[in-house]
Amino acid sequence: MTRFLSKDFLSGLMFIAFGLAALYFGQKLAVGTPVRMGPGYVPRMLSFILLGLGGLICVVALYAGGEIVERPKWKPITMVTLGIVLFALLFERAGLLPALVVLVLIASLGGEEFKLTEVIGNMIVLAILCTIVFKIGLGMNISIIQGVW
């Protein structure tokens, strides 16, 4: 059973999955002929190569075994991803400052140590820095707080 959880076997599966996805989503693209290749020719070729390589990696992994994949810790990856997504949602609707506060807060929660005063200090420093660099320095067309500045 552990063989199916090795890094190599799982990455082989990943390549197969990408190959299948590319075949599925690219099925409407015209393949054409080798002389006049359609838009689908090269993608289809790459999908088959990925399927082949992925299969080969899986077989070799089952045969040779390998390192077992580490159990992921969910907190950091979830928090970081959530922080970025919320930043993207807030940035244009509410402005840089609210997006920054949310991102820094959530990202800091993803770490092991969390001290509120430190995080607030970090926010203030970063807010000042970003305003100076991006808004004033580079003159980017962004609003610090939507509707205010």
Partner: protein, 501 residues
């Protein structure tokens, strides 16, 4: 005399106030991220790519190049003083550099590494100057089939030299190539894998991908590992090496420079490979190998020279052929494309001021680095006391704003999040991001050359083996792949990577 004229042209471009300023900014940022563990040159350059939109092409490339070799420089400082490598390329410097520091020779180790790096940077720059023109002339004879084979060789060699599992890395290259095809097909105008998202019709921007794969994934892994810095900072002491130290350091630095320059040109080579190989070489040829790991001067001089020499010469394939040899070079190619310059042999003939200006500025940048590093060492060391829990949110924030400013769209920020997750999966599965990025950058060009070659040959794939240049390149690719399958080489290679890890 052409060479001299070219250098003079380069000098006149590089010493303009604006370009000097950007070289300085690049060197400072490079040193900064070199000192800080947890953020590397790839993520930084990806983060700053959007900003280069606002700069003229020469200035932006000068700045990005500065970050790259500045990082190779700054990484050594922390290796020596606190036994923490800021960059992968300075991991070996820890071994002997930190031991020298513990014996009170920190200052000497720092100045040897700085001066050795400067020497290596100078030699690397000269090598670029000498080899750029003949290589460019050769590249101009290439047809579409030859280019396609050259890219295949570049990609395979990059994979073979730079990563653990060859098969997985090759699969990553193909995956990257596939991602590179997203967008509007140039020949027919058909939409490929765009899922009716208008932002994707121009293709996936590689800056958010690089930020996600290298920046975000790295942050997450560091947060998991609970990256904390411990251990006191060592006093620097006198910067002057003793006569005995000099006698041993100079030949080591020269050997390191030679080896580093050579390895830097190879696809997949670069600073890290150069540093590791030259350390191994020094240990092998030393009369008392027992001293290594206990503060041997050679163990600092050689790898530090090698990583800087390699950082310089790895520009050669990118500047002359348009083929990036590592992830940073892939981003440099991207920076050129953003500025509307197609990297390749035409850059030198069509944009001589950019080409030579950049090369001369690299040498100036190296001189700046000696000045930035030695007298200001105290300031850089202080930065080390900033805990990672402050840095992680800051890096995240800069990635997000950088991604947004690419096209003023939050879609790109979402892309960072998606590729961050994908990058994390890659890390967990032991798949390397660098081959993916190389494939991604080369994908569209490679398809273009492939289709053109097949069109010219009326659909006959034999064109790839009938043209002598293409055939030679393909044979070289095949030899590389066969070599990797040989048991003895496979074993030696695995050992080399174990030493690295």
């Amino acid at each position: 005399m052409d060479l001299l004229n070219n250098l003079l042209l380069g000098l006149s471009v590089a010493v303009s106030l604006q370009n000097l300023l950007y070289a300085l900014v690049g060197c400072m940022v490079g040193t900064l991220i070199g000192v800080l563990p947890g953020i590397g040159p790839v993520a930084t350059i990806a983060m700053l790519l959007p900003i280069t939109f606002h700069l003229p092409p020469t200035a932006s490339l000068i700045m990005l190049a500065g970050i790259y070799y500045g990082a190779a420089y700054g990484g050594s400082t922390t290796s020596i003083l606190v036994n923490l490598p800021g960059e992968a390329s300075s991991v070996v410097t820890c071994l002997d550099g930190y031991q020298m520091a513990r014996r009170g020779r920190a200052g000497a180790a720092l100045s040897i590494s700085a001066v050795g790096s400067f020497f290596a940077g100078t030699v690397g720059t000269i090598i670029i100057v000498v080899f750029a023109e003949p290589l460019t002339r050769m590249a101009q004879k290439f047809g579409p089939a030859d280019y396609c084979s050259l890219m295949a060789l570049g990609l395979v060699a990059a994979v073979v030299l730079a990563s653990g599992s060859v098969m997985k890395a090759i699969a990553m290259v193909f995956l990257g190539l596939l991602f590179g095809l997203v967008g509007t097909d140039v020949n027919t105008g058909a939409q490929r894998f765009t899922f009716d998202i208008p932002e994707l019709s121009d293709g996936i921007d590689f800056a958010p991908i690089a930020m996600g794969l290298f920046g975000i994934a790295e942050i997450v892994v560091n947060l998991e590992r609970h990256l904390e810095r411990s251990g006191g900072v060592i006093k620097v002491g006198s910067l002057w090496p003793t006569r005995e130290e000099l006698r041993r350091a100079i030949p080591a630095a020269i050997r390191g420079t030679a080896l580093g320059s050579l390895l830097g040109v190879l696809p997949g080579g670069g600073p890290t490979l150069g540093a590791f190989s030259s350390y191994t070489l020094e240990k092998k040829i030393s009369k008392n190998p027992g001293q290594f790991g206990k503060g041997a001067v050679e163990g600092v001089a050689a790898p530090e020279s090698a990583n800087n020499a390699a950082a310089q010469t790895s520009f050669i394939p990118m500047l002359t052929l348009g083929i990036p040899s590592n992830a940073v070079m892939a981003l440099m190619v991207g920076a050129m494309i953003i500025q509307g310059i197609q990297p390749g042999p035409e850059v030198m003939t069509k944009k001589p001021d950019l080409f030579w200006g950049m090369i001369v500025s690299m040498w100036i940048g190296n001189a700046m680095l000696v000045i930035i590093n030695l007298p200001m060492i105290g300031m850089w060391v202080k930065l080390l006391t900033v805990p990672y829990r402050f840095l992680a949110p800051a890096i995240l924030l800069f990635c997000c704003i950088g991604a947004y400013s690419l096209q003023n769209s939050t879609f790109h920020v979402m892309q960072v999040a998606i590729f961050g997750v994908l990058g994390y999966v890659f890390v967990r599965l032991g798949c390397e991001g660098a081959p993916f990025l190389l494939g991604l950058v080369l994908g569209p060009q490679m398809e273009e050359y492939f289709r053109r070659a097949m069109l010219l040959s009326r659909g006959d794939p034999m064109v790839f083996v009938e043209r002598p240049i293409s055939l030679g390149l393909l044979i070289a690719t095949a030899i590389l792949l066969v070599l990797m399958a040989l048991p003895s080489i496979k074993k030696a290679r695995e050992e080399a990577f174990q030493e690295e890890g």
